[in-house]
């Protein structure tokens, strides 16, 4: 019998029943819940007089709408306030554990879950958020779902699914100096395109991926959805197991040894079949900067803004032209000549302790440039914030002229007060450079934490190695 891919193994171990046409009832081990995509799901349960199937499989926190400053005043936006309060009310009435505002464990769902050991290797993990792919970094099958499916999982602990195809993206070789997990995944998206992974579960492998820390792997899997794949996964290794030791929800006592025995099997077998394999050479990856309004519109820091006239595909050409107009950029402008107005370090892609350390290393002893209106650092959770403060990172940022904020999704999607004004240009460690994503008319350039900090102290993009 042919070997199984990691995705095959995760899928097979969660099949509750399978119909002849392949439609499968798949068991879900963990659902993370936040305030934006859950109210209608809870309402649906209420209307149908249903109860959560297994309430302890759910864990909630508010992240999208929470303010990152002036927390003593609470949420001043009345509409957002109702939504956050609705989450708390729903969690109370359905008896679901929630880390509310003011709890040090509160944070972005995709930072909070692994930090608590609430998402573990071998699990199926869902959340009403497309960046749920993050949790694939430690050999879990994780993907975003819509609100109807949030309700479905609450009511049945299952999802109706069809299996995706298998894709392997292998990055081999040693990473160049200044190149982080973010640069790797942006380079991958640049190569496969934003729809390249549609219909696939992507396994990331190769020596360059293995060399990444667990947090770095989370950054890579986080953006699998930006390549079109609902799930990104990475095999379990010693780093993964080490990461989950002694976390609050991690297995305890004799269960720990049993779990480790199961987890070390979470890798693709030799000879397993992938429907598509893409190989990349790590030595060819330089620090990346997006120039357009889709994450696939990305180039090296040493490159220039591409010229639509050199694109032969007419739909692509029009897309590039529209992106340049929206971004206020001229073709062939060197990326390093683009000045920015704001800098955002945070989001489920890059707000963990290692991200903050990388940014702080660049900020240390430097000052935010005069043309920068705002440079902000938003830790991914209260625990990340506390640890960063224990390490003195907050002081490095504050001394350099950055604002040090409270945890949340913040300016990644600008549902709270943190946002770009029309035509403002931002170096952002988040995951989407779509039109209006960070504020109506705002212009987003996606970069790594080190590159964002470098842009902050330099006023325009610069190769972090050239600082």
């Amino acid at each position: 019998m042919a070997g199984k891919t990691l995705y095959d193994k995760l899928w097979d171990s969660h099949v509750v029943r399978k119909e002849e046409d392949g439609t499968t009832l798949l068991y879900i081990d963990r659902q993370l819940v936040h305030e934006v995509t859950s109210p209608q799901a809870f309402e649906g349960l209420r209307i149908a007089n249903r109860k959560p199937w297994r309430k302890s499989a759910n864990l909630a926190t508010a992240d999208h709408n929470v303010p990152t400053t002036g927390l003593d005043k609470g949420i001043t936006d009345p509409v957002a306030k109702i939504q956050v309060e609705t989450l708390s009310k729903n969690c109370k009435s359905f008896d679901i554990q929630e880390f509310g505002m003011g709890d040090v464990r509160q944070g972005i769902v995709h930072v909070m879950g692994p930090e608590q050991g609430a998402t573990l290797p071998g699990m199926t993990v869902v959340c009403g958020d497309s960046h749920t792919s993050t949790h694939g970094a430690f050999g879990a099958l994780a993907h975003g779902i819509g609100t109807s499916e949030v309700e479905h999982v609450l009511a049945t602990q299952c999802l109706i699914q069809k299996k995706s195809k298998n894709m392997l993206i292998e990055v081999n070789g040693e990473l160049n100096p200044g190149v982080s997990a973010k640069d790797v995944v942006l380079a991958i998206i640049g190569k496969v395109g934003t729809a390249g992974g549609t219909g696939y579960a992507i396994e990331f492998g190769g020596s360059a991926i293995r060399s990444l820390s667990v947090e770095g792997r989370m950054t890579v899997c986080n953006m699998a959805i930006e390549a079109g794949a609902r799930s990104g996964i990475i095999a379990v290794d010693d780093k993964t197991i080490e990461y989950f030791k002694d976390r609050p929800f991690s297995p305890k006592g004799s269960d720990w040894a049993k779990a480790v025995d199961a987890w070390i099997e979470l890798h693709s077998d030799v000879g397993a079949h992938f429907d598509q394999v893409i190989k990349m050479d790590a030595s060819e990856i330089q620090p990346q900067v997006t120039w357009g309004t889709s994450p696939e519109m990305v180039v090296d820091i040493n490159a220039s803004v591409p010229d639509p006239d050199k694109e032969s595909d007419p739909v692509k050409k029009e897309g590039m032209k529209a992106a340049l107009v929206y971004m206020g950029l001229e073709a062939n402008t060197p990326i390093s000549e683009i000045a920015v107005d704001k800098v955002f370090i945070g989001s489920c892609t890059n707000s963990r302790i290692e991200d903050l350390r990388a940014a702080a290393e660049v900020a240390n002893g430097r000052k935010v440039a005069k043309n920068i209106k705002l440079a902000m650092v938003v830790p991914g959770s209260g625990l990340v914030k506390t640890q960063a403060e224990q390490e003195g990172l907050d002081q490095i940022f504050i001394k350099a002229g950055f604002e040090w904020r409270a945890p949340g999704c913040s300016m990644c999607l600008a549902m709270n007060a943190d946002r770009l004004e029309p035509k403002e240009r931002c170096a952002s460690t988040s995951n989407r450079n779509f039109e209006g994503r960070q504020g109506n008319g705002g212009r987003t350039h996606l970069v790594s934490p080190a590159m964002a900090a470098a842009a902050a102290v330099n006023g325009h993009f610069i190769n972090v190695n050239d600082l």
């Binding site: 209608q40 009403g128 819509g146 499916e149 009511a155 602990q157 934003t194 079109g228 199961a262």
Partner: protein
């Protein structure tokens, strides 16, 4: 869920690739705790010249006359033709809610993003994948024929053109069944309660730590 069987409707063209769910319904409207009322803010940043706010009166806002859905000839459209990777980005189900609330029941494109595609079926919205050349033809025909309509027959899996030609399309049999009968997925799954329980019993023995918290 609203059942879907046959639809005869005006076709509107949205000629750009990678239309993301942030464009379909911008984030400020996601603060609502309801699942209806998103239609007036569908494509908000393209449709209006100012910035929309939740609960604001949209009827008095300045309209972007260049945006396709604001043109007289596409008023009342219920079929949207689009380009590759429609619905990419965020998993927000507010995107299909907004499209449905506006009046769309069918979206035709060469490809869709996975999560959006899936969300459509939960809301009585039929996403149809057709070959790029077929979609190209539709764009051309819509452009030159004012009031261009198509008839979409889900039971027969066929789209009938005004000139009498027809286009066959594929749809997953299970999803087709649910859509035609307006079935609620949860109700269907709860027919398999015993299967779920026996899976849990087996799994508890293999991986007890998954059930300890």
């Amino acid at each position: 869920m609203k059942a879907f069987n046959t639809l005869n409707g005006i076709v509107a063209p949205l000629d750009r690739a990678n239309v993301d769910t942030d464009a379909i319904i911008p984030k400020q409207f996601l603060k609502s705790i309801k699942r209806s009322g998103f239609g007036p803010n569908l494509f908000d940043e393209w449709r209006y010249l100012d910035e929309g706010q939740p609960d604001a009166d949209n009827s008095k806002r300045p309209i972007n006359k260049d945006f396709i859905l604001n043109q007289d000839r596409y008023q009342g459209a219920s079929i949207l033709i689009a380009r590759d990777n429609f619905g990419c980005g965020s998993s927000r189900e507010h995107a299909p809610w907004a499209l449905e609330d506006y009046g769309f029941r069918v979206i035709i494109a060469p490809s869709f993003a996975d999560i959006f595609f899936n969300n459509c079926f939960k809301n009585g919205l039929l996403p149809i994948v057709l070959a790029e050349s077929t979609v190209d033809e539709l764009f051309t025909e819509v452009d030159v024929n004012e009031g261009y309509k198509l008839t979409v027959n889900l039971q027969e899996q066929v789209i009938e053109k005004p000139n009498g030609n027809s286009i066959a399309f594929e749809v997953d049999p299970f999803r087709k069944h649910c859509l035609i009968n307006g079935l609620d997925d949860i109700g269907l799954t709860l027919h398999h309660v015993e299967d779920i329980r026996s899976y849990e019993e087996k799994r508890k023995k293999e991986a007890p730590w998954l059930f300890s918290s």
